[in-house]
Amino acid sequence: MWILWDRFLLFLGRKRKIPIRAFKVPSILSARFDFEPLEEVKEEKDEFSLLDLPDLPLDCILEKLSPLELCSMAMVCSSLRERCKSDHLWEKHMKQKWGGVIGDVAYREWQSQLASKRAPKFLHCKTQSKFQLFFGLFDFFGFKSEILERKNDLEGSLQVNSVMSLYLALETGKFWFPAQVFNREVQNGHVGFVLSCYDAQLSYDSTTDNFVARYRAQGRSMIEEEIEWDRIRAPTIDTPANVLHISDCLDELKPGDHIEIQWRKNKVFPYGWWYGVVGHLESCYANEFNCQCHINDSVILEFKQYNRGSRWSKTMISRKDHREVGNERDGFYGGIRKLYKKEEIAKWKQLWPNCTLE
Protein backbone atom coordinates (compact mmCIF):
# COMPACT_ATOMS: atom_id res chain seq x y z
CA MET A 1 0.00 0.00 0.00
CA TRP A 2 2.75 2.42 0.99
CA ILE A 3 4.74 1.56 -2.04
CA LEU A 4 1.75 2.11 -4.22
CA TRP A 5 1.21 5.50 -2.66
CA ASP A 6 4.82 6.35 -3.08
CA ARG A 7 4.85 5.27 -6.71
CA PHE A 8 1.68 7.15 -7.39
CA LEU A 9 3.31 10.26 -6.05
CA LEU A 10 6.42 9.50 -8.01
CA PHE A 11 4.32 9.16 -11.13
CA LEU A 12 2.70 12.50 -10.45
CA GLY A 13 6.10 13.99 -9.81
CA ARG A 14 7.54 12.73 -13.08
CA LYS A 15 4.83 14.40 -15.05
CA ARG A 16 6.48 17.62 -14.03
CA LYS A 17 9.88 18.58 -15.20
CA ILE A 18 11.34 18.76 -11.76
CA PRO A 19 9.59 16.44 -9.37
CA ILE A 20 9.19 17.22 -5.74
CA ARG A 21 8.34 14.22 -3.69
CA ALA A 22 7.92 15.51 -0.20
CA PHE A 23 4.38 14.93 0.86
CA LYS A 24 2.68 15.12 4.12
CA VAL A 25 1.24 11.82 5.23
CA PRO A 26 -2.53 12.15 5.18
CA SER A 27 -3.77 11.94 8.74
CA ILE A 28 -6.05 8.98 7.97
CA LEU A 29 -3.16 6.95 6.66
CA SER A 30 -0.75 7.93 9.35
CA ALA A 31 -3.26 6.88 11.99
CA ARG A 32 -2.53 3.29 11.07
CA PHE A 33 0.92 3.55 12.59
CA ASP A 34 1.71 3.20 16.23
CA PHE A 35 3.53 6.43 16.62
CA GLU A 36 5.66 7.25 19.56
CA PRO A 37 4.10 9.83 21.83
CA LEU A 38 4.96 13.30 20.67
CA GLU A 39 7.79 14.89 22.47
CA GLU A 40 7.59 18.43 23.60
CA VAL A 41 6.61 20.50 20.63
CA LYS A 42 8.33 23.78 20.12
CA GLU A 43 5.57 26.15 19.14
CA GLU A 44 7.41 29.30 18.33
CA LYS A 45 10.46 30.09 16.35
CA ASP A 46 12.90 32.15 18.32
CA GLU A 47 14.70 34.89 16.49
CA PHE A 48 18.24 33.80 16.11
CA SER A 49 21.29 35.78 15.38
CA LEU A 50 23.75 35.16 12.59
CA LEU A 51 26.22 34.47 15.33
CA ASP A 52 24.06 31.61 16.60
CA LEU A 53 24.49 29.74 13.34
CA PRO A 54 26.68 26.68 13.69
CA ASP A 55 30.20 26.98 12.33
CA LEU A 56 29.61 25.19 9.05
CA PRO A 57 26.73 27.30 7.69
CA LEU A 58 28.28 30.54 8.94
CA ASP A 59 31.60 29.68 7.35
CA CYS A 60 29.83 28.65 4.15
CA ILE A 61 28.21 32.08 3.99
CA LEU A 62 31.38 33.99 4.80
CA GLU A 63 33.37 31.95 2.27
CA LYS A 64 31.07 33.19 -0.46
CA LEU A 65 31.72 36.84 0.33
CA SER A 66 34.27 38.97 -1.49
CA PRO A 67 37.00 40.87 0.40
CA LEU A 68 34.90 44.05 0.27
CA GLU A 69 31.88 42.23 1.64
CA LEU A 70 33.91 40.62 4.39
CA CYS A 71 35.00 44.10 5.42
CA SER A 72 31.34 45.17 5.47
CA MET A 73 30.39 42.19 7.62
CA ALA A 74 33.25 42.99 9.96
CA MET A 75 31.53 46.31 10.60
CA VAL A 76 28.41 44.64 11.98
CA CYS A 77 29.79 43.78 15.38
CA SER A 78 33.06 42.85 16.98
CA SER A 79 32.54 39.11 17.16
CA LEU A 80 31.56 38.98 13.48
CA ARG A 81 34.67 40.98 12.81
CA GLU A 82 36.64 38.26 14.55
CA ARG A 83 35.08 35.64 12.27
CA CYS A 84 35.53 37.75 9.14
CA LYS A 85 39.25 38.16 9.60
CA SER A 86 40.01 34.43 9.83
CA ASP A 87 42.99 33.43 7.76
CA HIS A 88 41.14 30.60 6.06
CA LEU A 89 38.62 33.04 4.57
CA TRP A 90 41.32 35.33 3.22
CA GLU A 91 43.76 32.74 1.94
CA LYS A 92 41.51 32.01 -1.04
CA HIS A 93 41.22 35.72 -1.90
CA MET A 94 44.93 36.18 -1.36
CA LYS A 95 45.79 33.34 -3.71
CA GLN A 96 43.22 34.41 -6.28
CA LYS A 97 44.31 38.02 -6.58
CA TRP A 98 47.90 38.09 -5.37
CA GLY A 99 49.17 34.52 -5.82
CA GLY A 100 51.04 35.29 -9.04
CA VAL A 101 52.95 38.32 -7.80
CA ILE A 102 53.49 37.73 -4.11
CA GLY A 103 56.29 35.26 -3.49
CA ASP A 104 58.35 34.12 -0.52
CA VAL A 105 60.49 37.25 -0.65
CA ALA A 106 57.41 39.46 -0.32
CA TYR A 107 56.12 37.38 2.60
CA ARG A 108 59.45 37.68 4.36
CA GLU A 109 59.50 41.42 3.73
CA TRP A 110 56.01 41.68 5.20
CA GLN A 111 57.04 39.73 8.28
CA SER A 112 60.08 41.87 8.86
CA GLN A 113 58.07 45.06 8.42
CA LEU A 114 55.60 43.78 10.99
CA ALA A 115 58.36 42.89 13.40
CA SER A 116 59.88 46.34 13.15
CA LYS A 117 56.63 48.14 13.92
CA ARG A 118 55.68 48.82 17.48
CA ALA A 119 53.17 46.52 19.14
CA PRO A 120 49.64 47.20 17.94
CA LYS A 121 47.09 48.83 20.15
CA PHE A 122 43.54 48.02 20.99
CA LEU A 123 40.25 49.66 20.61
CA HIS A 124 37.61 48.82 23.15
CA CYS A 125 34.00 47.93 22.58
CA LYS A 126 31.09 48.51 24.90
CA THR A 127 31.30 45.02 26.25
CA GLN A 128 34.52 43.51 27.44
CA SER A 129 35.60 40.38 25.68
CA LYS A 130 38.75 39.34 23.98
CA PHE A 131 36.75 38.82 20.82
CA GLN A 132 35.40 42.29 20.96
CA LEU A 133 38.65 44.02 20.58
CA PHE A 134 39.23 45.92 17.46
CA PHE A 135 42.06 44.58 15.42
CA GLY A 136 45.23 46.55 15.33
CA LEU A 137 45.69 46.50 11.61
CA PHE A 138 45.23 50.19 11.20
CA ASP A 139 47.85 50.94 13.71
CA PHE A 140 50.23 48.94 11.59
CA PHE A 141 49.33 50.97 8.58
CA GLY A 142 50.48 54.03 10.41
CA PHE A 143 47.11 55.68 10.62
CA LYS A 144 46.99 58.35 13.26
CA SER A 145 44.07 57.38 15.35
CA GLU A 146 43.17 59.34 18.41
CA ILE A 147 41.03 56.51 19.64
CA LEU A 148 43.85 54.05 19.25
CA GLU A 149 46.18 56.41 21.03
CA ARG A 150 43.73 56.81 23.89
CA LYS A 151 43.26 53.10 24.24
CA ASN A 152 46.88 52.17 24.14
CA ASP A 153 47.05 51.00 27.71
CA LEU A 154 44.87 47.98 27.05
CA GLU A 155 45.74 44.40 27.66
CA GLY A 156 47.59 41.93 25.51
CA SER A 157 48.85 42.13 22.00
CA LEU A 158 46.76 41.67 18.92
CA GLN A 159 47.61 39.58 15.92
CA VAL A 160 48.21 41.76 12.93
CA ASN A 161 50.08 38.96 11.30
CA SER A 162 46.97 37.82 9.50
CA VAL A 163 46.29 37.12 5.86
CA MET A 164 43.60 39.80 5.93
CA SER A 165 46.04 42.44 7.12
CA LEU A 166 48.47 41.53 4.33
CA TYR A 167 45.63 41.56 1.78
CA LEU A 168 44.45 44.99 2.88
CA ALA A 169 47.99 46.33 3.01
CA LEU A 170 48.47 45.22 -0.60
CA GLU A 171 45.07 46.40 -1.76
CA THR A 172 45.47 49.85 -0.25
CA GLY A 173 48.99 50.16 -1.63
CA LYS A 174 50.44 50.68 1.83
CA PHE A 175 52.77 47.74 1.47
CA TRP A 176 55.51 48.19 -1.12
CA PHE A 177 56.30 44.59 -1.95
CA PRO A 178 59.30 43.13 -3.71
CA ALA A 179 58.58 41.55 -7.10
CA GLN A 180 60.00 41.59 -10.62
CA VAL A 181 58.92 43.76 -13.55
CA PHE A 182 59.19 42.70 -17.19
CA ASN A 183 60.32 45.25 -19.80
CA ARG A 184 61.30 47.72 -17.12
CA GLU A 185 60.61 51.38 -17.77
CA VAL A 186 58.98 50.69 -21.13
CA GLN A 187 56.25 53.00 -19.84
CA ASN A 188 58.88 55.75 -19.49
CA GLY A 189 59.79 55.28 -23.17
CA HIS A 190 62.83 53.02 -22.67
CA VAL A 191 63.42 50.07 -24.99
CA GLY A 192 66.73 49.18 -23.36
CA PHE A 193 65.09 46.72 -20.99
CA VAL A 194 62.93 44.81 -23.49
CA LEU A 195 62.79 41.08 -22.68
CA SER A 196 64.33 41.49 -19.27
CA CYS A 197 62.91 41.25 -15.77
CA TYR A 198 64.16 43.44 -12.95
CA ASP A 199 63.63 43.51 -9.21
CA ALA A 200 61.55 46.38 -7.91
CA GLN A 201 59.44 47.52 -4.99
CA LEU A 202 55.82 47.77 -6.07
CA SER A 203 52.71 49.43 -4.76
CA TYR A 204 49.20 48.69 -6.02
CA ASP A 205 46.67 51.35 -6.94
CA SER A 206 43.18 49.91 -6.61
CA THR A 207 41.52 52.84 -8.39
CA THR A 208 43.44 52.23 -11.63
CA ASP A 209 44.15 48.51 -11.02
CA ASN A 210 47.84 48.85 -11.82
CA PHE A 211 51.15 49.38 -10.06
CA VAL A 212 53.86 51.88 -9.34
CA ALA A 213 57.40 50.48 -9.32
CA ARG A 214 60.50 51.80 -7.63
CA TYR A 215 63.83 50.55 -8.98
CA ARG A 216 67.01 51.15 -7.11
CA ALA A 217 70.31 51.60 -8.84
CA GLN A 218 73.45 53.26 -7.52
CA GLY A 219 71.57 54.78 -4.64
CA ARG A 220 69.13 56.48 -6.99
CA SER A 221 65.50 55.58 -7.24
CA MET A 222 63.65 55.30 -10.54
CA ILE A 223 59.87 55.41 -10.58
CA GLU A 224 57.65 53.86 -13.21
CA GLU A 225 53.86 54.17 -13.09
CA GLU A 226 50.87 52.43 -14.67
CA ILE A 227 52.41 48.99 -14.75
CA GLU A 228 49.83 46.38 -15.67
CA TRP A 229 49.43 43.02 -13.93
CA ASP A 230 50.89 41.07 -16.85
CA ARG A 231 54.25 42.80 -16.48
CA ILE A 232 54.80 41.58 -12.94
CA ARG A 233 55.88 38.29 -11.46
CA ALA A 234 56.99 36.95 -8.11
CA PRO A 235 60.75 36.34 -8.09
CA THR A 236 61.33 32.85 -9.46
CA ILE A 237 64.33 32.06 -7.30
CA ASP A 238 65.62 33.25 -3.99
CA THR A 239 68.85 34.84 -5.26
CA PRO A 240 68.85 38.60 -4.52
CA ALA A 241 69.44 40.99 -7.41
CA ASN A 242 73.00 41.82 -6.36
CA VAL A 243 74.13 38.20 -5.92
CA LEU A 244 75.43 35.88 -8.65
CA HIS A 245 73.07 32.95 -9.17
CA ILE A 246 74.85 29.61 -9.18
CA SER A 247 73.76 27.92 -12.41
CA ASP A 248 72.71 24.31 -12.00
CA CYS A 249 71.65 23.59 -15.57
CA LEU A 250 74.92 24.07 -17.50
CA ASP A 251 75.51 20.38 -18.20
CA GLU A 252 72.15 19.88 -19.80
CA LEU A 253 71.96 22.99 -21.98
CA LYS A 254 71.39 22.15 -25.65
CA PRO A 255 70.35 24.12 -28.74
CA GLY A 256 66.73 25.24 -28.59
CA ASP A 257 66.56 25.46 -24.79
CA HIS A 258 64.94 28.58 -23.36
CA ILE A 259 66.90 30.31 -20.65
CA GLU A 260 67.05 33.37 -18.45
CA ILE A 261 70.46 34.79 -17.66
CA GLN A 262 71.53 37.40 -15.15
CA TRP A 263 73.07 40.49 -16.71
CA ARG A 264 74.26 43.79 -15.34
CA LYS A 265 75.72 46.83 -16.98
CA ASN A 266 78.54 47.10 -14.49
CA LYS A 267 79.51 45.58 -11.19
CA VAL A 268 77.77 48.15 -9.01
CA PHE A 269 74.36 47.66 -10.69
CA PRO A 270 71.95 44.95 -9.66
CA TYR A 271 71.36 42.03 -12.01
CA GLY A 272 68.28 41.71 -14.16
CA TRP A 273 67.08 38.50 -15.79
CA TRP A 274 67.24 38.39 -19.60
CA TYR A 275 65.50 35.96 -21.87
CA GLY A 276 67.45 34.01 -24.48
CA VAL A 277 67.76 30.66 -26.24
CA VAL A 278 70.67 28.28 -26.60
CA GLY A 279 71.97 28.40 -30.19
CA HIS A 280 74.27 26.28 -32.33
CA LEU A 281 78.01 26.84 -32.45
CA GLU A 282 79.36 28.29 -35.69
CA SER A 283 81.12 25.01 -36.50
CA CYS A 284 77.86 23.07 -36.28
CA TYR A 285 75.79 24.57 -39.14
CA ALA A 286 72.69 23.67 -37.12
CA ASN A 287 72.57 20.20 -38.59
CA GLU A 288 70.43 18.25 -36.19
CA PHE A 289 71.98 14.89 -37.14
CA ASN A 290 75.62 15.87 -36.66
CA CYS A 291 75.08 18.44 -33.92
CA GLN A 292 77.59 18.09 -31.08
CA CYS A 293 76.74 21.40 -29.42
CA HIS A 294 75.23 19.75 -26.36
CA ILE A 295 78.61 18.20 -25.44
CA ASN A 296 80.83 21.09 -26.43
CA ASP A 297 82.39 23.09 -23.60
CA SER A 298 81.19 26.35 -25.16
CA VAL A 299 77.55 27.30 -25.15
CA ILE A 300 76.14 29.99 -27.40
CA LEU A 301 73.30 32.07 -25.99
CA GLU A 302 71.20 34.04 -28.43
CA PHE A 303 69.05 37.08 -27.75
CA LYS A 304 66.94 37.25 -30.84
CA GLN A 305 65.18 40.46 -29.96
CA TYR A 306 68.40 42.16 -31.18
CA ASN A 307 69.62 42.51 -34.76
CA ARG A 308 72.14 39.88 -35.81
CA GLY A 309 74.91 42.43 -35.93
CA SER A 310 74.16 43.86 -32.49
CA ARG A 311 76.68 43.21 -29.74
CA TRP A 312 73.78 42.14 -27.54
CA SER A 313 72.53 39.49 -29.94
CA LYS A 314 74.67 36.63 -28.63
CA THR A 315 77.27 35.66 -26.08
CA MET A 316 79.35 32.59 -25.37
CA ILE A 317 79.81 30.97 -22.00
CA SER A 318 81.84 28.04 -20.71
CA ARG A 319 79.84 25.00 -19.75
CA LYS A 320 82.40 23.77 -17.22
CA ASP A 321 83.28 26.81 -15.19
CA HIS A 322 80.82 29.54 -15.98
CA ARG A 323 80.81 32.30 -13.41
CA GLU A 324 80.33 35.95 -14.25
CA VAL A 325 81.77 36.87 -17.67
CA GLY A 326 81.93 40.18 -19.51
CA ASN A 327 83.47 43.61 -19.55
CA GLU A 328 82.61 47.23 -18.92
CA ARG A 329 81.57 47.73 -22.55
CA ASP A 330 79.23 44.76 -23.04
CA GLY A 331 78.16 44.33 -19.47
CA PHE A 332 78.46 41.20 -17.33
CA TYR A 333 76.59 37.92 -17.82
CA GLY A 334 75.86 35.98 -14.61
CA GLY A 335 73.98 32.85 -13.59
CA ILE A 336 71.63 30.94 -15.88
CA ARG A 337 68.19 29.42 -15.27
CA LYS A 338 66.87 26.95 -17.78
CA LEU A 339 63.12 27.43 -18.37
CA TYR A 340 61.19 24.19 -18.09
CA LYS A 341 57.62 25.42 -17.75
CA LYS A 342 55.68 26.21 -20.89
CA GLU A 343 53.95 29.10 -19.12
CA GLU A 344 57.25 30.79 -18.34
CA ILE A 345 58.37 30.56 -21.96
CA ALA A 346 54.97 31.73 -23.21
CA LYS A 347 55.21 34.74 -20.88
CA TRP A 348 58.45 35.89 -22.49
CA LYS A 349 57.09 35.37 -25.99
CA GLN A 350 54.07 37.45 -25.12
CA LEU A 351 56.42 40.36 -24.34
CA TRP A 352 58.24 40.10 -27.66
CA PRO A 353 58.83 43.53 -29.28
CA ASN A 354 57.25 44.45 -32.60
CA CYS A 355 60.61 45.01 -34.26
CA THR A 356 64.17 43.87 -33.57
CA LEU A 357 66.41 46.11 -31.53
CA GLU A 358 69.84 47.56 -32.26
Partner: protein, 167 residues
Protein backbone atom coordinates in the same frame (compact mmCIF):
# COMPACT_ATOMS: atom_id res chain seq x y z
CA UNK B 1 -1.18 -4.89 -1.15
CA UNK B 2 -0.44 -4.31 -4.79
CA UNK B 3 3.19 -4.01 -5.48
CA UNK B 4 5.58 -4.93 -8.21
CA UNK B 5 8.44 -5.26 -5.78
CA UNK B 6 9.61 -8.88 -5.95
CA UNK B 7 10.98 -8.85 -2.45
CA UNK B 8 7.49 -8.53 -1.12
CA UNK B 9 5.58 -6.14 1.02
CA UNK B 10 7.66 -6.55 4.19
CA UNK B 11 10.87 -5.40 2.58
CA UNK B 12 9.04 -2.78 0.64
CA UNK B 13 7.58 -1.29 3.78
CA UNK B 14 11.06 -0.84 5.20
CA UNK B 15 11.98 1.36 2.30
CA UNK B 16 9.99 4.27 3.66
CA UNK B 17 10.28 6.24 6.85
CA UNK B 18 8.08 8.79 8.47
CA UNK B 19 9.61 12.00 9.67
CA UNK B 20 7.72 14.18 12.10
CA UNK B 21 8.36 17.90 12.44
CA UNK B 22 8.42 19.76 15.74
CA UNK B 23 4.84 20.93 15.13
CA UNK B 24 3.57 17.39 14.63
CA UNK B 25 3.25 17.11 10.85
CA UNK B 26 4.40 13.84 9.39
CA UNK B 27 6.12 13.18 6.10
CA UNK B 28 6.51 9.94 4.24
CA UNK B 29 9.98 9.72 2.79
CA UNK B 30 11.74 6.97 0.90
CA UNK B 31 14.68 5.59 2.82
CA UNK B 32 17.01 6.29 -0.07
CA UNK B 33 16.14 9.98 0.30
CA UNK B 34 16.37 10.00 4.09
CA UNK B 35 19.87 8.52 4.15
CA UNK B 36 21.23 11.47 2.16
CA UNK B 37 21.06 13.21 5.51
CA UNK B 38 23.95 11.96 7.62
CA UNK B 39 21.96 12.44 10.83
CA UNK B 40 18.91 10.52 9.58
CA UNK B 41 21.16 7.77 8.25
CA UNK B 42 22.72 7.33 11.68
CA UNK B 43 19.32 7.20 13.36
CA UNK B 44 18.08 4.58 10.88
CA UNK B 45 21.17 2.48 11.42
CA UNK B 46 20.77 2.59 15.16
CA UNK B 47 17.09 1.83 15.56
CA UNK B 48 14.45 -0.10 13.73
CA UNK B 49 11.77 2.54 14.09
CA UNK B 50 10.34 3.90 10.92
CA UNK B 51 9.33 7.11 12.66
CA UNK B 52 11.79 9.86 13.32
CA UNK B 53 10.79 12.85 15.36
CA UNK B 54 12.70 16.07 14.82
CA UNK B 55 12.14 18.37 17.74
CA UNK B 56 13.72 21.48 16.30
CA UNK B 57 12.63 21.61 12.67
CA UNK B 58 9.23 23.05 11.78
CA UNK B 59 6.92 21.60 9.13
CA UNK B 60 7.57 24.18 6.42
CA UNK B 61 11.32 23.86 6.69
CA UNK B 62 11.16 20.08 6.90
CA UNK B 63 8.95 19.88 3.80
CA UNK B 64 11.57 21.82 1.87
CA UNK B 65 14.46 19.67 3.06
CA UNK B 66 12.55 16.49 2.19
CA UNK B 67 11.71 17.82 -1.26
CA UNK B 68 15.40 18.40 -1.75
CA UNK B 69 16.41 14.97 -0.46
CA UNK B 70 13.78 13.17 -2.56
CA UNK B 71 14.90 14.90 -5.72
CA UNK B 72 18.54 14.14 -5.09
CA UNK B 73 17.77 10.50 -4.28
CA UNK B 74 15.97 10.01 -7.57
CA UNK B 75 18.28 8.02 -9.83
CA UNK B 76 16.03 8.75 -12.78
CA UNK B 77 17.03 12.42 -12.78
CA UNK B 78 20.13 13.65 -14.55
CA UNK B 79 22.72 15.73 -12.71
CA UNK B 80 21.82 18.70 -14.86
CA UNK B 81 18.20 18.44 -13.81
CA UNK B 82 19.24 18.18 -10.17
CA UNK B 83 21.40 21.28 -10.53
CA UNK B 84 18.58 23.26 -12.06
CA UNK B 85 16.33 21.98 -9.28
CA UNK B 86 18.86 23.36 -6.75
CA UNK B 87 18.76 26.76 -8.38
CA UNK B 88 15.00 26.82 -8.50
CA UNK B 89 14.87 25.51 -4.96
CA UNK B 90 16.50 28.56 -3.39
CA UNK B 91 15.40 31.22 -5.86
CA UNK B 92 12.84 33.65 -4.58
CA UNK B 93 12.94 32.33 -1.04
CA UNK B 94 12.75 34.89 1.71
CA UNK B 95 15.89 35.47 3.69
CA UNK B 96 14.03 34.48 6.83
CA UNK B 97 13.09 31.11 5.31
CA UNK B 98 16.69 30.49 4.29
CA UNK B 99 17.91 31.13 7.82
CA UNK B 100 15.83 28.26 9.18
CA UNK B 101 16.65 26.11 6.19
CA UNK B 102 20.37 26.47 6.73
CA UNK B 103 19.93 25.63 10.41
CA UNK B 104 18.00 22.50 9.44
CA UNK B 105 20.72 21.43 7.01
CA UNK B 106 23.15 21.62 9.88
CA UNK B 107 20.93 19.58 12.21
CA UNK B 108 20.27 16.98 9.53
CA UNK B 109 23.82 17.18 8.19
CA UNK B 110 22.96 17.69 4.55
CA UNK B 111 26.18 19.36 3.46
CA UNK B 112 25.39 19.93 -0.21
CA UNK B 113 22.14 21.70 0.64
CA UNK B 114 23.98 23.72 3.28
CA UNK B 115 26.35 25.02 0.58
CA UNK B 116 23.47 25.81 -1.77
CA UNK B 117 21.51 27.74 0.85
CA UNK B 118 24.60 29.48 2.24
CA UNK B 119 25.49 30.66 -1.25
CA UNK B 120 22.01 32.08 -1.73
CA UNK B 121 22.19 33.81 1.65
CA UNK B 122 25.59 35.26 0.76
CA UNK B 123 24.16 36.50 -2.56
CA UNK B 124 21.37 38.28 -0.72
CA UNK B 125 23.76 39.73 1.86
CA UNK B 126 25.99 41.18 -0.84
CA UNK B 127 25.86 44.94 -1.11
CA UNK B 128 23.67 45.25 1.94
CA UNK B 129 24.12 47.92 4.53
CA UNK B 130 25.61 46.96 7.84
CA UNK B 131 22.33 48.06 9.42
CA UNK B 132 20.42 45.58 7.24
CA UNK B 133 22.56 42.69 8.46
CA UNK B 134 22.16 43.77 12.07
CA UNK B 135 18.38 43.93 11.67
CA UNK B 136 17.93 40.70 9.72
CA UNK B 137 20.13 38.72 12.04
CA UNK B 138 19.21 40.40 15.27
CA UNK B 139 22.78 41.41 16.00
CA UNK B 140 23.56 44.04 18.59
CA UNK B 141 26.06 46.65 17.54
CA UNK B 142 28.68 46.53 20.26
CA UNK B 143 30.95 49.21 18.86
CA UNK B 144 30.95 52.59 20.51
CA UNK B 145 29.81 55.32 18.06
CA UNK B 146 33.31 56.75 17.96
CA UNK B 147 34.82 53.32 17.30
CA UNK B 148 32.35 52.68 14.50
CA UNK B 149 33.06 56.04 12.90
CA UNK B 150 36.74 55.32 13.15
CA UNK B 151 36.46 51.92 11.48
CA UNK B 152 34.37 53.40 8.70
CA UNK B 153 36.93 56.10 8.15
CA UNK B 154 39.83 53.67 8.12
CA UNK B 155 38.04 51.08 6.03
CA UNK B 156 37.45 53.70 3.36
CA UNK B 157 38.89 51.29 0.80
CA UNK B 158 35.98 48.97 1.40
CA UNK B 159 33.33 51.70 1.42
CA UNK B 160 34.16 53.95 -1.48
CA UNK B 161 31.99 53.89 -4.58
CA UNK B 162 29.63 51.22 -3.33
CA UNK B 163 25.91 51.38 -3.66
CA UNK B 164 24.60 49.62 -0.59
CA UNK B 165 21.03 48.55 -0.13
CA UNK B 166 18.83 48.56 2.89
CA UNK B 167 16.09 46.23 1.71
Amino acid sequence: MVTTDEKGPLTAKKKSVIIRSCDGDEFLVSESAAVLSTSLKKILEEKEDRLIHLSDIDNKTLAMVIAYLSTHADDGLSDDLKRSFDQEFVSGKEFDVLKYLVLATDTLQVTCLCYTVAKKMADIMKNKLVEWVRREFDIQNDYTPEAEAEIRRLDAWAWDDRQLEDD
